[in-house]
Every structure is written in structure tokens, then in C-alpha cells.
């Protein structure tokens, strides 16, 4: 069955933040296109990507906003945190400075998003282990102290990229199930589409997977 690009029941809004050059755009590209971009230009302002994933038998459209890491864009990119259900905060394991700046990114993330926003810490470029500048243990500790989920990824090999995006979606979905995230409010970063109006004897319409029997 070919995936219908318009057949989904939720929309989750994500934002990707972190210093310039840590690989935010590459992560997004790897996730949406399953390809690595070796020469990725700096992002100007914000870019936008989508992909439909399946979590707990639910089709979810992820609407991902990839922000520019360059300092001069901060005033602009800060406006995009609003209403994000998930925030992927990325540093580069081969550049300590990008790790050191995390607390500033985290402050922004906490101040500008909802309390329920799932913040995921990503140490990218795990393929460059030889040039490692930040140990995994250290980052794990930081994540634990700040209540973040943490994974090391490689946008180049694709390692853990799916996991990071999907785990974020799972946590958000969990919050919806818990009732801690309010649905259908345009700004909660999650939206539930009303179930499709069934039309006549539409052929090839898949059995409704939404019904929880």
C-alpha cells in the first residue's frame, strides 16, 4: 500500500536548534530524504521539512523547522520556538564549544516553548569518533541533570537519526495520551485531524486504523 501523503491523524511541530555547523540541516535532510549532504550551506533563517511517521499505529505528520545556528539569526529564529511540541537541541561531538553553548540554547528552549515540549539532546557527528571532543558520559550526565533525552547520532551514516526523531514523537504522543498536552489547539504544536469523511465506495481505502478496538 503506497503511503498517502495526506493520510495522517496528527501533526507535530518540531524545531531543531544548536550552534552553526553542528549538522542540524543534515540531520533533517537525512531524516526526510535518507541522504547525507556533504556540502550543506549555512541555513539562512529557517527551513522547513516534513515526514509522516507511524507511532503506536498512528500516522503522524512531523513538521520540522530547521533554524540557522549563526548568531545573527537568533532574533529571527527565536520566534519559531513558539508552539513547538518537540525541540531537538544539537551539538557537535568534535567541537567542544558547541557543547558549551548548550545551556544558552536550553534557556531559550525552556523560555520560549511549552512546559510539555519534549527536548531531545543530540550529539551529532558520532562517525567522527577519532576527533571526539566531548565524551558520551559527560553529555549523558548533562542530559540527566536537565531532564533531557539524549542520543549520539550521525547525519552522515544515519545512525540513530530515525530513533531521535521517532522517540521524540513517541514522547509527545505519550503526553497526548496522558492528557498533559491539549489537542486541537492551534498552538500546542500538536494537532489532531478529524477522521476523514468516508466517501462513497472509495476503492482502496484502508481499513480505519484509528479505531481502537
Amino acid at each position: 500500500m503506497a503511503a498517502n501523503p495526506y493520510n495522517y491523524s496528527y501533526i507535530f511541530k518540531y524545531i531543531i536548534i544548536g550552534d552553526m555547523g553542528v549538522g542540524k540541516s543534515c540531520l533533517l535532510h537525512q531524516f526526510t530524504e535518507k541522504k547525507f549532504m556533504a556540502d550543506c550551506p549555512h541555513t539562512i533563517g529557517v527551513e522547513f521539512g516534513t515526514r509522516i511517521v507511524e507511532v503506536s499505529d498512528q500516522k503522524i505528520k512531523l513538521q520540522i523547522w530547521d533554524t540557522a545556528g549563526q548568531e545573527r539569526f537568533r532574533a529571527v529564529t527565536r520566534s519559531y520556538y513558539r508552539g513547538a511540541a518537540g525541540a531537538l537541541m544539537v551539538y557537535d561531538i568534535t567541537r567542544r564549544s558547541t557543547y558549551n553553548h548548550l545551556s544558552s540554547w536550553l534557556t531559550d528552549a525552556r523560555n520560549l516553548t511549552n512546559p510539555n515540549t519534549v527536548i531531545f539532546l543530540i550529539g551529532n557527528k558520532s562517525d567522527l569518533d577519532a576527533q571526539r571532543d566531548v565524551t558520551r558520559e559527560e553529555a549523558e550526565l548533562f542530559a540527566e541533570e536537565n531532564g533531557l533525552i539524549f542520543l549520539e547520532t550521525s547525519a552522515r551514516t544515519g545512525e540513530n537519526v530515525e530513533e531521535a526523531f521517532l522517540e521524540t514523537a513517541r514522547r509527545i504522543y505519550q503526553s497526548i495520551q496522558d492528557g498533559s498536552l491539549e489537542l486541537n489547539a492551534a498552538e500546542s504544536g500538536v494537532q489532531h485531524k478529524p477522521s476523514p469523511i468516508k466517501v462513497g465506495n472509495e476503492e482502496g481505502q484502508p481499513a480505519d486504523r484509528n479505531c481502537s478496538c
Partner: protein, 600 residues
Amino acid sequence: MSPKNDETTSNPLSRKLQKVLSLKLDQDPDLIVALKGLSDVVSTNNLRTRRNLRGDFERRSVNLSVELCESFSHVNQLVEKLNTEITTMSESCRVMTTELATARTQMQGLLEKTSKIKRESASVEMKKEVITAFISRYHVSPQQAAVLKRSDDIDTEFFTVLDRVRTIHQDCKILLQTHQTTGLQIMENMAHLQEQAFQSLFKWTQNECRRLTSDIPEPSASLKQGFLMLLDRDTLIRASLSELAKVRRAVLLRMFINSLTRGGPGGTPKPIELSSHDPIRYGGDMLAWLHQTIASERDLLISFLPSKETVLTVLSEVSEGVSRTLKIRVEQIINNTDDCITLLQISNIIQFYLSTIKPFLSEEAPLITLISELNLQCRKQFNRHFALSISRLSDRNELPGLDLVPTSAFQEALHLLKIILNTHDVSVVPDVSPLASMSELLDVVIGPILTLSNMSACQLEPVDNAVYIINLVSCLYNVLAMYENTDKTLELLQHKIDEELETLTNLQYDHMIKTTSIPPTEMINTERLSVVASKLDQALLNSEVLWLHQCTRLSALRHRNAVWRGASEQFIKVYSTLIQSPSNEGILLKSADQISQLLK
């Protein structure tokens, strides 16, 4: 024995005897049978029986004859009966023969009829096939036609039938070549059905569009196909698209106002208006919200609109819905801001969103026009407030001190300029040429600053004026030189500096002439030359007197050198003419080279 024979023959008795004697009775089978039969009849051999024998036999014979007669009469009866029957049969046969003959003639006709019918049947069969084929190609059943009249529920069946009607209409062109009347009639029918279908579809589409009132609505599965079909009818598609735009426009506006004034559920995220005290954040949040919402809206429209153009058209119209709300608020921000740096930052942000949102909408989309206008307005406000800041500085009427360094007012103006250039440098306008935008900015800011410097310098003596202006413009030059895309303005400033340096060089030269009392050429005489010689000697002992003391206030060493070099060269040229003058009779002893060395 012959004689004997003769005898027997001659005697009948003997012959008889002879014959009896010659009878071999035991060998005569007839006799035996007869005798046997006789023994059956005559039980006792006595005279009576022997005498009655003949009578018995005759009686017996008569009986037998009677019996035979009777039997034959019976047979005769039967034969007669048979005869009658045979006659009847013969009669029947004759009749049958006649009938058969008749039947045969009739049969002939029948056979002919049958084969005729067979031929007809084949042709009818053929016609039937043709008609079936025709119907399958050119006929729409009443049930199918009814499908096209439904406007409450449109599904794939509708489109299948409509497609068929369209195909038939097309195919009629082939039909017209051979069956014009039929072809025309069918065409007319199909056109009629199509018209009906389009009307139903149009009504249905309108209703479907009116249903799309939630933030993220779920269009029905047939809507895409419906729009695709309507593409064939210019007026219908336009009306449908504008209905859609009308509905979504209202939704977008509702969402925008909601985000502005109510925010998310339970107040998170906060209403955008809550940050209205921070103009940059406020404006940025509104425009970022629009960018994201327009992106989502485009996703939605792409899911059921038939072409890129239609998406653009609708989205442009939909986005216009928020224009007024946005305009009022951004204008408020602009008008309430009097800090020119903030205004520049706001303008940068507006420009950023202008180029970010532009690709989603058509070139002439009202929202795009509005955002560019807001940017212009903001720029104007910036220009105004920048000029105001500068004029406020110039209102201080601050005069330069004796040191001829830039006044504090000018320093402040330069400081402001630096901040402006820094702000511009980090501006985030992706698709504007950096050179053009810098030139545009410099065109605005350099003028007032130069005016300011001219105004503070104009009350000075010419020498002071020149030195002061050179110092100011150099400062300005040095600031601009740290930024990219300032070459044109730097050139202009350099030109101004050069001009002032030339003026100053001339003044310096005049001063040297005056100090050494060198007379105009036509007034040269020995007496005057003697004065020059003595003054020159004195001056060379204490070269400072040759210097305009203000020149030491030139902040750049290279400018000081330039002035000195330029003035000295001119001076030496004049000195050379003095040496060579006829009046110089051993009065001026030093050569031009010597003087040149001494002046260095």
C-alpha cells in the same frame, strides 16, 4: 421267352395276372401307406366291412370334401377380407403419395423460407452486435445520468460517469463523419449531461469548501478530483477557488487573532501581543507565525488543489485575510519606535520575512505588497529618526577645540553610525544584494553626518577648517573601511579628504611664502631678495616657523607629510625661479636641492 410274351400280350387276363404277379407289393410305399391307412379305418376284416368299404370310402371322401369346402370357404372369407384391406391400404397409399407430393412442394418453399430467415437472423445478429457496440460506446444509462445530477454526494462513480460522458462527446466527432444526425443528437445529449454534471460538481465543491473551517481541516477524498475536473470550466473553477479562499481566509484570520490575543491552551504559548512592549520580538513573532501558518496552509492546499498556480492564487488570497490586522500592528510598532537602531532592526526583520514568505505566494500577493510597504515605512521612519538624532547632535552647536579633533557630538554620531553598520552587518536578508543594501543605507546616513561636520567646521578659520574637516572625514573613513561594500562611499570620502588636503597644502605654501617674504615675480629686485635670504636663513634654523601650527593637528601623519611635501615642492619651485632671476647677484647662495634637503 418271347413266344411266351406274345402269349401274355395276347391274353388280357394273363397280362393282368402277369401284372399282378409282377407286383412287388412289399416294395410299393404307396401301397404300404394305403394299407396302413386302411388298417386305421377298418378295424375288422370281414365281409361286411369289405362290402361297405367302397361306401365308407366314398362317404369319407364326401365328408372330407365337405370339410375341405368348409375350410376353403373360411379361407376365402379371409382372403376376401385381406383383399378389402389391401384395397383400403392401396387407397391410403395413393392418398399418401399425393399428400407426399404436396408436402414435397410445400417443403421446398419452407426450405427456401428457412434459409432466408437464417440469412436474416445472421444480419440481425450482426446488427445486434453493432448496436451493443454502439450502446457501449455512445449510450449513458438513465441510472448513470442520475448519478450526474447528484450534488449532495459525489464519489468516484460520479467521476467515472462524467469521464464517460466526456469520452462519448469526444467520440461523436468520429460518428459525425458517417452518421451526422445521430452524432449531433448524441453530442447534444452529452453536452447537456456534462453541463448538468458540472453544475452538480460545482455546487458540491462549493459546499465542500464551506466545510473546511477547522484549523487543519480534512478535505473529502473527491475534492481533488472535483477541482481537477472544474479546471475545464474557467468561471466555475474561479468561483470555487474564490469560495475556498474566502473560507480559509476567515480561518486564518481567526487563528491569527487567536494567537495574538489568546495564545495556546492554558496560555502557553503566551499570546503574541503580550510581547508588544518589545517591538522586535513582537513584529518577529507575528511574521514568523505567518510564515509557519502559510507553510502549513500551503501543505493543505497542495493536498487537493489541481495545480501550482491554483495553490498560489488561493494562498495569496487567503493570506490577504490577515493583512489588515498585521498592518495595524506593525504600523503601530513603527510609529511608536523612535530609536533609529531599533527601527533598522525592525526593518531588517521585515525584510527577512518578506523574502522568506515571498516564495510561498504569488509575486503580486497583497500580503507581499503590504510587507514591502511596511518595510518602506519602517525605513522612512528610520531615516527620519536618524536625521533627527544627527540634527539633535548638531543643535548642541559644539565648536571644535584648539586641538581640532572631532567634537563629542561628532563622536556620538560616529558611534551611532558604527552601531547602525553593525546592525546592518548582522541583518538577515537572504535575497537582497549586500552591495545594494549597504549603498542604500550609506546614502541615507553619510549625508547628515557630513552636514554635521561641515556645520561645526564652518565657523573656523580656513586653515583650522581644512584641518578639522580632514580629521573628521578621516575618522568617518576609518569607520567605514572596517565594513564591506563601502568602497564607493570611501572613494567619495577620500576625494573630500584630497580636496581639503589640497586646500591645506596651498595654505601651507602661502604661509611659507609669507614667512620668507618671497615677493610676486614681477616685484623681484635685489633688495627684496636680500630680505628673503635673511628670512630664509632664520626660518631654516627654526623650521617650525615655516609650518602652519594647525597642520600638526592633522591626526594622520601621512596627511601631515603630504601637506608638507606638497607645499615644499611648490616652495622650491618658486625658490628656483628666484635663484635664476637676474636680480640674484650672489644673494641667494643655497641651491634648490640644498633647500629641499633642509626642508625635509
